[in-house]
Symmetry: C2
Subunit: 517 residues, 2 copies
């Protein structure tokens, strides 16, 4: 058995079922190995950023890693932005990167580059497989590294001759690092802080944004009056009228500071102490208010739901969580804006939907419009590297073929990984994409307003404006095999969204909205 076959067989034995692939010559033996492993589904991606983002979406929804298949340093380079997002999401990913044959690297051939250095910037675990005989065990360890607590990107670099050489054999699964149990005294200390009656907030992150932990957190909040917040960009936030409502920490420092104003005890459950997304002249980077004590209940290496459950049993034994008022917005009419578009989404959101949110400034009203709706998952831009949405949605749809996926995407961000639409079509994914076309990098216009600099100038106009020409997402989507339409009114959007959600397969709706900034 050659190394590539041992890698593929080991992946299957370790529970890996999907490989998001953009292979090149040095990965051919692995492609051939996939032919012999029908349990490992090969999903073609036309760009490595699509493969990486899809692996992230798949891992967020299943808790199990997908494999990628990338081609040397440049292929890994193209995948780095979405691997960065996966790293910030603590998503398990087995990142397979082919490389030149071991004996070929000395020649500095045209595609030679420092794959290891690139891999280290996004991976919690990196190994270069040196010999076919190690291919199986290295792969098993990569899977274990990926699915440990917290999840991470585990990069296995596979030289071409390791893949093609014989003498390899598959390896059995390796145990992954389990979550650590939070000590009794930590829970007791947090309970004591919450019982002081002083203003408190609980900041949820990682596994704390999933249903079991949310229910516990909701009880704690109800019993103690602590405010329930979560990270600005949660990897996977479960939401809807049947779960306690959680406010996301604001993206702008001003907003987050207002949310945390007066808090004397900040309890961290799977989240880190809040910092501003970007530095801003004259604003603090660390957003913990003066005089506020920070209590770490659980880190991402811990059993977060267990710790919250224990804390709930301690401080809220008989208190139920407060649930949001159930209800949906009315179907909007009239002008199509970010606000009416959000109402359309809220009005029509299907039960069990997976919402991928890269709507950026156009998404301002989305959380409010969906909070009281049916149960759903909300996946966000964890690492801030735009170009995530379309790939992430592909991975989520492959992870959960029985659930509708709704990808809410900004026009500027969509263009970074637009070829993901072809994968939507090829894999016949049940996935509706709404592109909010405000024809602007509006978030930058907003930041200029915050800076108080003059609102206009020739370079600024050229670099922030996405018209001249306008992007026609209907044409682009159809060009990649995705049925598409354009909405210019609220009625148009609701009709098109209703239709897209009622049909299987991918759809794209271009929702033309004015820029907010």
């Amino acid at each position: 058995m050659n190394g590539a076959c041992a890698v593929a067989r080991t992946l299957v034995g370790s529970g890996v079922e999907v490989c998001f692939a953009n292979p090149g010559t040095s990965e051919l033996h692995f492609v051939a190995a996939l032919d012999d492993e029908p349990a490992l589904r090969a999903v073609p991606c036309l760009f490595e950023g699509v493969a990486a983002g899809a692996a992230d979406g798949y891992g967020r929804m299943t808790g199990r890693p997908a494999a990628t298949l990338l081609h040397l340093g440049p292929g890994l380079g193209n995948g780095l932005a979405n691997l960065h997002n996966a790293r910030r999401a603590a998503t398990p990913v087995v990142n397979l990167v082919g490389d030149h044959a071991t004996f070929h690297k000395r020649y500095d051939a045209p595609l030679e580059s420092d794959v290891d250095a690139l891999a280290r910037t996004v991976s919690g675990w990196v190994r270069r497989c040196g010999d076919a005989s190690a291919a199986g065990t290295d792969t098993a360890q990569a899977v274990a590294a990926a699915i440990g607590t917290p999840g991470q990107v585990a990069t296995l670099i596979l030289p071409a001759d390791v893949s093609w050489s014989g003498g390899a054999r598959p390896a059995p699964p390796v145990a992954a690092r389990p979550p650590a149990t939070v000590p009794e005294q930590t829970v007791a200390a947090v309970a004591a802080a919450l019982r002081t009656g002083e203003p408190a907030a609980i900041l949820l992150g990682g596994a704390a944004t999933r249903a079991p932990a949310l229910r516990a957190a909701g009880r704690i909040a109800a019993a103690t009056g602590a405010r329930l917040l979560c990270e600005t960009f949660p990897a996977r936030l479960e939401r809807g009228a049947s779960l306690p409502a959680v406010e996301r920490l604001g993206y702008l420092a001003e907003g987050a500071m207002a949310q945390l104003d007066g808090v004397r005890h900040l309890v961290l459950a799977g989240a880190r102490a809040p910092v501003s997304f970007f530095a801003h002249p004259g604003l603090p980077g660390l957003l913990v208010p003066d005089g506020c004590r920070v209590h770490i209940l659980a880190t991402t290496a811990d059993d977060i739901p267990g710790a919250l459950g224990h804390l709930a049993d301690t401080v809220a034994a008989h208190t139920p969580a407060v649930l949001p008022a159930a209800g949906r917005p009315a179907l909007p009419t009239g002008a199509l804006t970010a606000e009416t578009a959000a109402a359309a989404v809220g009005a029509l959101l299907p039960e069990g939907a997976i919402v991928v949110d890269e709507a950026n400034t156009c998404g301002l009203w989305l959380p409010g419009a969906t909070a009281g709706g049916p149960r759903h998952d909300w996946l966000t831009l964890t690492g801030g590297a735009i170009g995530q949405g379309l790939p992430l949605a592909a991975g989520a749809a492959i992870a959960c073929p029985d659930r509708p996926v709704l990808c809410l995407e900004a026009d500027g961000s969509a263009m970074y990984t637009i070829s993901a639409l072809w994968t939507h079509a090829r894999e016949e994914l049940d996935l509706t994409t709404v592109v909010f076309a405000n024809r602007s990098y509006a978030v930058l216009a907003m930041e200029f307003q915050r800076l108080g600099t003059p609102a206009d100038g020739p370079a600024r106009r050229d670099l922030l404006d996405l018209s001249r020409p306008c992007l026609d997402f209907v044409a682009i989507a159809r060009g990649m095999g995705v049925p598409a339409s354009r909405a210019n009114t609220a009625e148009g959007l609701t009709a098109q969204l209703r239709q897209a959600l009622s049909e299987p397969g991918p759809h794209l709706i271009e929702a033309v909205v004015p820029a907010l900034f």
Copy 2:
């Protein structure tokens, strides 16, 4: 003056005229600075790989660097593949990467990553500007590093607070490293080797593929019988009936070995000793034949045209170069294939054209069909990182607005950086793109044939096939504002190509051809 203004002013003073930009929040002050520098043209790109590839194309055609403007680690990551190609092309590029404010990095905010490590993989020079007072001098040194001999990617990392802080001032240009003069005795030794009458070849690279050096090399070849070869993927090869013909070294080891078979003296002028692009089981990596002596006439750090001129004066004082037979292929008719498409290109190639060649397997007949045509430049995929063509063509068109640019692009490669088409439209570039749609990663099918593995299998079919659905490049191009048409016959291609070349502005033609493998 703030740091950003000092950077922009210094760039202008050092001769930088274009900035290919995809900025984010941390680059806003630089964007504002561009408003005050009309001599520094800001070109918006919808993806960093477009900005990087365009800077490469611009630098190859002018010999002067363009600046990029990229957003933190993920933005640099998206640009790495085309910066890798620029590195292999020895193109001068001033790669500006914004980063978090110096005081914000400690917080490990979501977009934080190891920018420096990423930059080192593609850059000959990396500096992190630590203070606004150094912004001007650091910028001047970055330009000098970029335009030294050989050219290189010089990355300047600009923290947001360096950009927004005052106390900066522009710096005057810094002298760049000039080419070294090749010693007399080196030229004499090579002359002696060539005069032995033993079979010899001259391998040209870097500046040796430009007209002055080619003319000298042609005289040397004519006088000594040495074979004239150049690197497989030259950065910029000047060609046409008025220049000596140069064979490019074959992409496959088998081909290159045949070209070099029997050679006893291999003279390197700006090229390195030839190695195979990929390792292949049973084939050598180093392609210098047994018993062949390698003579280094000039490295990329040397005055290559000077050395070749000196050698020509030594061995070929009165011998003119042999020029290729002038002539073009007849206008093709009938079925559209890679071969008839090449004939169409050869028949219609405009005088002074810049040809960007990322046609891959579809490009097999292109060099032959154009060798005897009018003078033109041929830009190739120096680093093997696909997704170069559309961005490179944009940069070349901006560099040379008075010359027609013809971008010959494979369908698979086109999709990596397809949003470059929008920049073609926005900047109204005189640029005709022909996408060869063979609907396959045919180069991988060819490699499977070379390996002698079974030709088919489910994963292989899924991963190499680009149909199901077919990409409609006409729709995609129109969706980005580029007029487009589809050719299914040779007559159709010639008519559409003639029309596109006769009109200003961008065009795209999808040429549907069968896959060769």
